[in-house]
Protein backbone atom coordinates (compact mmCIF):
# COMPACT_ATOMS: atom_id res chain seq x y z
CA UNK A 1 0.00 0.00 0.00
CA UNK A 2 2.88 2.35 0.74
CA UNK A 3 4.41 1.88 -2.73
CA UNK A 4 1.06 2.75 -4.28
CA UNK A 5 0.99 5.95 -2.21
CA UNK A 6 4.46 6.79 -3.51
CA UNK A 7 3.20 6.35 -7.08
CA UNK A 8 0.32 8.73 -6.35
CA UNK A 9 2.76 11.25 -4.79
CA UNK A 10 5.01 11.09 -7.86
CA UNK A 11 2.27 11.52 -10.45
CA UNK A 12 0.58 14.30 -8.47
CA UNK A 13 3.75 16.27 -7.80
CA UNK A 14 4.84 15.90 -11.43
CA UNK A 15 1.54 17.24 -12.73
CA UNK A 16 1.61 20.16 -10.26
CA UNK A 17 5.21 21.05 -11.24
CA UNK A 18 4.42 20.98 -14.99
CA UNK A 19 1.36 23.12 -14.32
CA UNK A 20 3.35 25.71 -12.37
CA UNK A 21 5.73 26.01 -15.36
CA UNK A 22 2.77 26.68 -17.67
CA UNK A 23 1.38 29.19 -15.17
CA UNK A 24 4.65 31.17 -15.12
CA UNK A 25 4.76 31.21 -18.94
CA UNK A 26 1.14 32.37 -19.16
CA UNK A 27 1.67 35.08 -16.53
CA UNK A 28 4.69 36.47 -18.38
CA UNK A 29 2.63 36.44 -21.58
CA UNK A 30 -0.33 38.26 -20.00
CA UNK A 31 2.02 40.83 -18.52
CA UNK A 32 4.25 41.44 -21.54
CA UNK A 33 2.35 40.89 -24.80
CA UNK A 34 1.29 44.09 -26.58
CA UNK A 35 -2.35 43.56 -27.60
CA UNK A 36 -5.57 42.20 -26.14
CA UNK A 37 -5.91 39.27 -28.54
CA UNK A 38 -2.31 38.17 -27.99
CA UNK A 39 -2.94 38.32 -24.24
CA UNK A 40 -5.97 36.11 -24.81
CA UNK A 41 -3.69 33.52 -26.36
CA UNK A 42 -1.44 33.66 -23.29
CA UNK A 43 -4.51 33.30 -21.06
CA UNK A 44 -5.37 30.03 -22.81
CA UNK A 45 -1.91 28.68 -21.97
CA UNK A 46 -2.26 29.64 -18.34
CA UNK A 47 -5.84 28.37 -18.06
CA UNK A 48 -5.59 24.93 -19.64
CA UNK A 49 -1.99 24.16 -18.76
CA UNK A 50 -1.78 26.05 -15.50
CA UNK A 51 -5.13 25.30 -13.89
CA UNK A 52 -6.36 21.96 -15.16
CA UNK A 53 -3.07 20.07 -14.82
CA UNK A 54 -2.44 21.16 -11.17
CA UNK A 55 -6.04 20.44 -10.18
CA UNK A 56 -5.70 16.93 -11.64
CA UNK A 57 -2.39 16.67 -9.77
CA UNK A 58 -4.00 17.70 -6.48
CA UNK A 59 -6.80 15.19 -7.09
CA UNK A 60 -4.30 12.36 -7.63
CA UNK A 61 -2.07 13.53 -4.76
CA UNK A 62 -4.98 13.62 -2.32
CA UNK A 63 -5.74 9.94 -2.94
CA UNK A 64 -2.33 9.02 -1.55
CA UNK A 65 -2.63 11.04 1.68
CA UNK A 66 -3.53 8.19 4.03
CA UNK A 67 -3.31 10.25 7.23
CA UNK A 68 -6.27 12.48 6.33
CA UNK A 69 -8.76 9.66 6.62
CA UNK A 70 -11.76 9.50 4.35
CA UNK A 71 -11.85 13.28 3.91
CA UNK A 72 -9.18 13.09 1.21
CA UNK A 73 -11.80 11.77 -1.21
CA UNK A 74 -13.66 15.06 -0.67
CA UNK A 75 -10.67 16.97 -2.09
CA UNK A 76 -10.41 14.52 -4.99
CA UNK A 77 -14.09 14.81 -5.89
CA UNK A 78 -14.17 18.62 -5.77
CA UNK A 79 -10.96 18.94 -7.81
CA UNK A 80 -12.29 16.59 -10.50
CA UNK A 81 -15.63 18.43 -10.67
CA UNK A 82 -13.89 21.82 -10.95
CA UNK A 83 -11.62 20.41 -13.68
CA UNK A 84 -14.67 19.48 -15.74
CA UNK A 85 -16.33 22.86 -15.05
CA UNK A 86 -13.18 24.77 -16.12
CA UNK A 87 -12.80 22.58 -19.20
CA UNK A 88 -16.37 23.35 -20.32
CA UNK A 89 -16.87 26.96 -19.20
CA UNK A 90 -13.49 28.71 -19.63
CA UNK A 91 -13.22 28.43 -23.46
CA UNK A 92 -16.80 29.63 -23.88
CA UNK A 93 -16.16 32.62 -21.61
CA UNK A 94 -12.93 33.54 -23.42
CA UNK A 95 -14.63 33.18 -26.79
CA UNK A 96 -17.55 35.41 -25.82
CA UNK A 97 -15.15 38.01 -24.41
CA UNK A 98 -13.06 38.01 -27.60
CA UNK A 99 -16.18 38.28 -29.77
CA UNK A 100 -17.49 41.20 -27.72
CA UNK A 101 -14.13 42.99 -27.81
CA UNK A 102 -13.92 42.51 -31.58
CA UNK A 103 -17.46 43.55 -32.41
CA UNK A 104 -17.59 46.58 -30.13
CA UNK A 105 -14.08 47.86 -31.09
CA UNK A 106 -13.21 48.24 -27.42
CA UNK A 107 -9.73 46.76 -27.64
CA UNK A 108 -7.29 47.94 -30.34
CA UNK A 109 -6.43 45.15 -32.76
CA UNK A 110 -3.32 46.83 -34.09
CA UNK A 111 -0.56 44.17 -34.40
CA UNK A 112 -2.68 42.55 -37.10
CA UNK A 113 -1.60 40.42 -40.04
CA UNK A 114 -4.77 38.87 -41.44
CA UNK A 115 -8.39 39.59 -40.54
CA UNK A 116 -10.85 37.13 -42.00
CA UNK A 117 -13.82 38.61 -40.16
CA UNK A 118 -13.55 41.98 -41.91
CA UNK A 119 -14.09 40.35 -45.33
CA UNK A 120 -17.77 39.69 -44.90
CA UNK A 121 -17.67 36.37 -43.12
CA UNK A 122 -19.58 37.57 -40.08
CA UNK A 123 -21.89 40.24 -41.52
CA UNK A 124 -25.22 39.88 -39.78
Amino acid sequence: MSELNLVFYGIGLGLIAIGSFFEVVGAIGVLKLPSFFLRLHALTVSCIGGSILPLLGVAILAIGLEEMGSQRLFITAICLISVFIILILAPSGSHSLARAAYNSNTAPKQPLEYDALSRGVNKD
Partner: protein, 89 residues
Protein backbone atom coordinates in the same frame (compact mmCIF):
# COMPACT_ATOMS: atom_id res chain seq x y z
CA UNK B 1 9.68 16.69 1.57
CA UNK B 2 6.14 16.82 0.22
CA UNK B 3 5.29 19.93 2.23
CA UNK B 4 8.43 21.82 1.17
CA UNK B 5 7.84 21.13 -2.56
CA UNK B 6 4.23 22.21 -2.22
CA UNK B 7 5.30 25.40 -0.40
CA UNK B 8 7.67 26.29 -3.26
CA UNK B 9 4.93 25.73 -5.86
CA UNK B 10 2.44 27.74 -3.80
CA UNK B 11 4.90 30.66 -3.66
CA UNK B 12 5.20 30.44 -7.48
CA UNK B 13 1.42 30.77 -7.69
CA UNK B 14 1.47 33.79 -5.37
CA UNK B 15 4.08 35.50 -7.59
CA UNK B 16 2.02 34.86 -10.75
CA UNK B 17 -1.04 36.22 -8.94
CA UNK B 18 0.91 39.43 -8.30
CA UNK B 19 1.77 39.63 -12.02
CA UNK B 20 -1.91 39.26 -12.92
CA UNK B 21 -2.78 41.98 -10.38
CA UNK B 22 -0.29 44.33 -12.10
CA UNK B 23 -2.06 43.69 -15.43
CA UNK B 24 -5.45 44.11 -13.72
CA UNK B 25 -4.53 47.57 -12.40
CA UNK B 26 -2.58 48.69 -15.49
CA UNK B 27 -4.78 47.27 -18.27
CA UNK B 28 -5.64 49.93 -20.85
CA UNK B 29 -9.13 48.70 -21.78
CA UNK B 30 -12.00 46.91 -20.07
CA UNK B 31 -11.48 43.50 -21.78
CA UNK B 32 -7.86 43.49 -20.60
CA UNK B 33 -8.98 43.93 -17.01
CA UNK B 34 -11.62 41.20 -17.31
CA UNK B 35 -8.99 38.92 -18.89
CA UNK B 36 -6.59 39.51 -16.00
CA UNK B 37 -9.39 38.88 -13.49
CA UNK B 38 -10.19 35.63 -15.30
CA UNK B 39 -6.61 34.39 -15.09
CA UNK B 40 -6.34 35.58 -11.49
CA UNK B 41 -9.35 33.59 -10.36
CA UNK B 42 -8.18 30.38 -12.05
CA UNK B 43 -4.87 30.98 -10.30
CA UNK B 44 -6.65 31.41 -6.96
CA UNK B 45 -8.62 28.18 -7.52
CA UNK B 46 -5.38 26.19 -7.80
CA UNK B 47 -3.97 28.15 -4.85
CA UNK B 48 -6.91 27.12 -2.65
CA UNK B 49 -6.55 23.47 -3.65
CA UNK B 50 -2.82 23.49 -2.84
CA UNK B 51 -3.49 25.26 0.47
CA UNK B 52 -6.01 22.63 1.50
CA UNK B 53 -3.40 19.93 0.79
CA UNK B 54 -0.72 21.76 2.80
CA UNK B 55 -2.90 22.62 5.80
CA UNK B 56 -4.70 19.23 5.63
CA UNK B 57 -8.01 21.01 5.89
CA UNK B 58 -10.49 19.82 3.25
CA UNK B 59 -13.04 22.56 3.93
CA UNK B 60 -10.86 25.10 2.07
CA UNK B 61 -11.25 23.39 -1.28
CA UNK B 62 -15.02 23.78 -1.34
CA UNK B 63 -14.69 27.41 -2.42
CA UNK B 64 -13.23 26.42 -5.79
CA UNK B 65 -16.50 25.57 -7.56
CA UNK B 66 -18.30 28.91 -6.77
CA UNK B 67 -15.12 30.79 -7.78
CA UNK B 68 -15.00 29.10 -11.19
CA UNK B 69 -18.73 29.54 -11.81
CA UNK B 70 -18.48 33.20 -10.76
CA UNK B 71 -15.73 33.98 -13.26
CA UNK B 72 -17.84 32.50 -16.06
CA UNK B 73 -20.73 34.74 -14.99
CA UNK B 74 -18.36 37.76 -15.04
CA UNK B 75 -17.23 36.88 -18.59
CA UNK B 76 -20.78 36.50 -19.89
CA UNK B 77 -22.07 39.68 -18.21
CA UNK B 78 -19.18 41.87 -19.37
CA UNK B 79 -19.27 40.58 -22.95
CA UNK B 80 -23.03 41.02 -23.05
CA UNK B 81 -22.63 44.60 -21.82
CA UNK B 82 -19.83 45.41 -24.28
CA UNK B 83 -21.70 44.04 -27.26
CA UNK B 84 -25.23 45.27 -26.63
CA UNK B 85 -24.76 48.09 -24.04
CA UNK B 86 -27.29 46.52 -21.72
CA UNK B 87 -27.12 43.92 -18.99
CA UNK B 88 -30.02 41.79 -20.20
CA UNK B 89 -32.75 40.42 -18.02
Amino acid sequence: MLSSVLLIITSIYVVTALMYIIRLVKGPTIPDRVLALDALSFDLAVFLALLSIILENPILVSGVIPLVLWIHAIDIFVSKYLEAREMGE
